[in-house]
């Protein structure tokens, strides 16, 4: 019976030691638990006088309880009590006093020191915060039971039973490592909570819900998350108020990623005793926050890109208009003066100078041909009629030369940017060209109207439909509309006519 009890107790402490070593390699908890386990196993095997050495495991147990949960003795008082416990054990072994007395007094001292440790741990438990109570509670409860049993079984008032031989007591002591293992298991489950957090945060959280998720995962409702703002080099909360590290009873943990600050978690100091949990939470939070920041960054870049693309388009449009005007008012006019002068020369030549007349006529025709090409070039750079008449006049010209009767409705906003005007013109021009080429339509309806903040340009025919929106002309139009912040839709059921509709931004 005694052996079985010793083996069970030793095995439970050895198991505790193994778990502690694996989970907290830097902590002394594993070492202390291992020492207890070994000593408990050795005790029944040793002969009489040496047994008392092995009985020192009770002292090591006092040390272990005092050192929980971190493995270090937190206060000078705690260190003193543990030192006294070891001194007591040495005194018991040196046997300066009569054996029986030593055993009884020494055991009583040991039990009292154990009670003192328990009392100090209980004081600490009362001061400490919720998260750290959670890790202390089971072990302290188990230790309290142990001390209670020790006091009850003290040989000073129960002389028949030798205290340390009490098998029942040993089995009861199994509660200590078991409580420790239970706590470890729970913190594992809590890390599972962090895993849930990672999943939760993956769904692009609002800054406020990130704080809520972290507070829940870390069991600290007072937790505050500060987001790093690179521009102002400070942390702000979800509402943009600055978050600082200070405050009594508060601790700040920095969350960095790739050497860059990401966030600041301001929380209960007790969380520091669960470095694994907070580390996991920080990693999860860093991922979420960095993801959030990258998304915001990307959005800002996209907006920037769209803005600069708009500027490029505006500049290109202005440049094209300028080029068309320069060509028209400059080169084309000057060039025309050449065939004009040549025609005067032609009429001034004496009737018998046939060869000179032929050369002059040739020169005149060549300069007129150049002028023709220049005109086509200028028209391609920018539709000249847009310069002369604006969108309405330009579209009206397209409708009068159209091969199909057109009904035209134009209601333009008071101001229309140059690039939107040109885009709208090309939509009508391309759509009408398609009607002529493919539609076999009997009439066309064109509407150019403002709807809210959009200019709607619509060309609808009653032709055979089946137009390919991916054809180069329509695709080019869609790209052009998109570049200008608009959309182009083509509806063309076979046999049901074709409707080309562009919606372009206008103020």
């Amino acid at each position: 019976m005694r052996t079985v009890a010793a083996v069970v107790l030793a095995a439970s402490f050895l198991a505790m030691s193994a778990v502690a070593w694996r989970k907290h390699p830097g902590s002394r908890v594993g070492l202390l638990a291992a020492a207890i386990g070994v000593l408990v196993l050795l005790e029944p095997m040793l002969p009489g006088p040496e047994r008392v050495v092995a009985a020192g495991w009770a002292t090591v147990l006092i040390h272990l309880v005092a050192a929980l949960p971190s493995g270090r003795l937190g206060t000078p008082a705690m260190r003193l009590v543990v030192a006294l416990a070891y001194l007591n054990t040495v005194a018991m072994m040196t046997a300066l006093l009569p054996r029986e007395l030593v055993k009884e007094v020494g055991t009583l001292v040991a039990v009292l020191l154990g009670a003192a440790v328990l009392g100090m741990q209980w004081m600490r438990w009362r001061r400490t915060s919720v998260p750290s109570r959670r890790s202390l509670t089971p072990v302290l409860a188990a230790a309290a039971v142990m001390v209670g049993l020790l006091l009850a079984g003290n040989p000073m008032w129960t002389p028949d039973a030798s205290l340390l031989d009490m098998s029942v007591l040993k089995v009861g002591l199994v509660a200590v490592p078991l409580a420790y293992l239970a706590t470890e298991l729970r913190s594992r489950i809590e890390r599972g909570g962090v895993a849930d957090l990672v999943v939760q945060l993956g769904n692009a959280p609002e800054p406020a819900s990130l704080q809520a998720a972290l507070a829940k995962a870390l069991h600290d409702p007072t937790l505050t998350v500060g987001h790093w703002v690179a521009e102002s080099r400070r942390y702000v909360d979800a509402d943009g108020h600055p978050v600082t590290a200070g405050g009594p009873g508060r601790v700040a943990t920095r969350v960095d990623r790739g050497g860059e600050p990401v966030a600041l978690l301001v929380h209960d100091p007790a969380l520091l005793e669960q470095p694994r949990l907070i580390e996991a939470a920080c990693t999860a939070a860093a991922l979420a926050l960095q993801n959030e920041r990258l998304t915001a960054d990307l959005r800002a870049r996209l907006a920037q890109l769209a803005e600069s693309r708009r500027h490029v388009l505006q500049a290109a449009e202005a440049e094209r208009r300028r080029l068309e005007r320069d060509l028209h008012d400059g080169v084309q006019q000057r060039l025309l003066s050449i065939p004009m002068a040549l025609s005067v020369a032609e009429s001034a030549i004496p009737p018998d100078a046939e060869r000179a007349r032929a050369l002059i006529t040739e020169a005149k025709d060549m300069s007129l041909a150049v002028l023709d090409e220049l005109r086509a070039l200028s028209q391609g750079i920018h539709p000249t009629i847009l310069t002369e008449r604006g969108l309405e006049g330009a579209v009206r010209e397209l409708t009068v030369v159209a091969s199909v009767p057109v009904r035209l409705t134009v209601e333009l906003p008071p101001r229309l940017s140059a690039e939107i005007e040109t885009t709208a013109y090309y939509v009508v021009a391309e759509a009408l060209a398609n009607v002529t080429k493919h539609a076999d339509a009997s009439r066309v309806e064109i509407r150019i109207v403002q709807v809210g903040e959009r200019l709607v340009v619509e060309v609808a025919d009653d032709g055979r439909g089946g137009a390919d929106p991916e054809g180069s002309g329509l695709r080019g139009l869609a790209t052009r509309a998109g570049d200008n912040g608009g959309v182009l839709r083509v509806t063309s059921p076979v046999g049901g006519g074709t409707r080309v509709r562009a919606e372009l931004p206008c103020e």
């Binding site: 008012d329 006019q333 000057r334 025309l336 025609s343 009629i385 310069t387 009068v400 091969s403």
Partner: protein, 215 residues
Amino acid sequence: MRVVLAEDNVLLREGLVRLLAEAGVTVLSGVEDAAALLADVGRHRPDVAIVDIRLPPTRTDEGLRAAREIRRRHPGVGVLVLSQYVRVSYTVELLDGGANGVGYLLKDRVTNIAEFTEAVRRVGSGGSAFDPIVINQLVQRRAGEDDPLHALSERERTVLALMAEGRTNQAIADRLDIAERTVEKHGTSIFTKLDLTASPDDHRRVLAVLRFLNA
């Protein structure tokens, strides 16, 4: 023939003055913007005002608007509009007050002095002169089923197009290498098909042209 000229490019303006003088046309004044043109037309009452479309200050369509203004204010003054581009819609606008004494030509046409001065004289004496490019665009567009132009034969359409340019029967006959009487016969047939038989000949001709241009 007395003309007032509005052209903002000095080189072209001087060139035109010289060219017209060469052809025996009197240029009363050459101005560079629409305001000066309206003032000089009011003062000189020329036979023809020759107007460039893009004039200062905006160089968009000031010349065209001035041309319409002259036709409204001075029905006796012919207006000949010149431009680097010719537009059907501008032609329709110019014909708003009828086809008398109005013309619209591509600027390049001035380099054919004989044809150009002929056009100036025609506009100056109440006729018309429209650019073949405009007329071609109108001919090429397909007439609808209910369009009376649909009833015309190919030859008749050609003759009507030349009429629309403002050419006389003789000029059309020369161009098509046919007898003037044949042109007249085509003309009568066109007027009948367009249901214009009741009007006196000159007027019918104008109406036919209008019908054609406004189709």
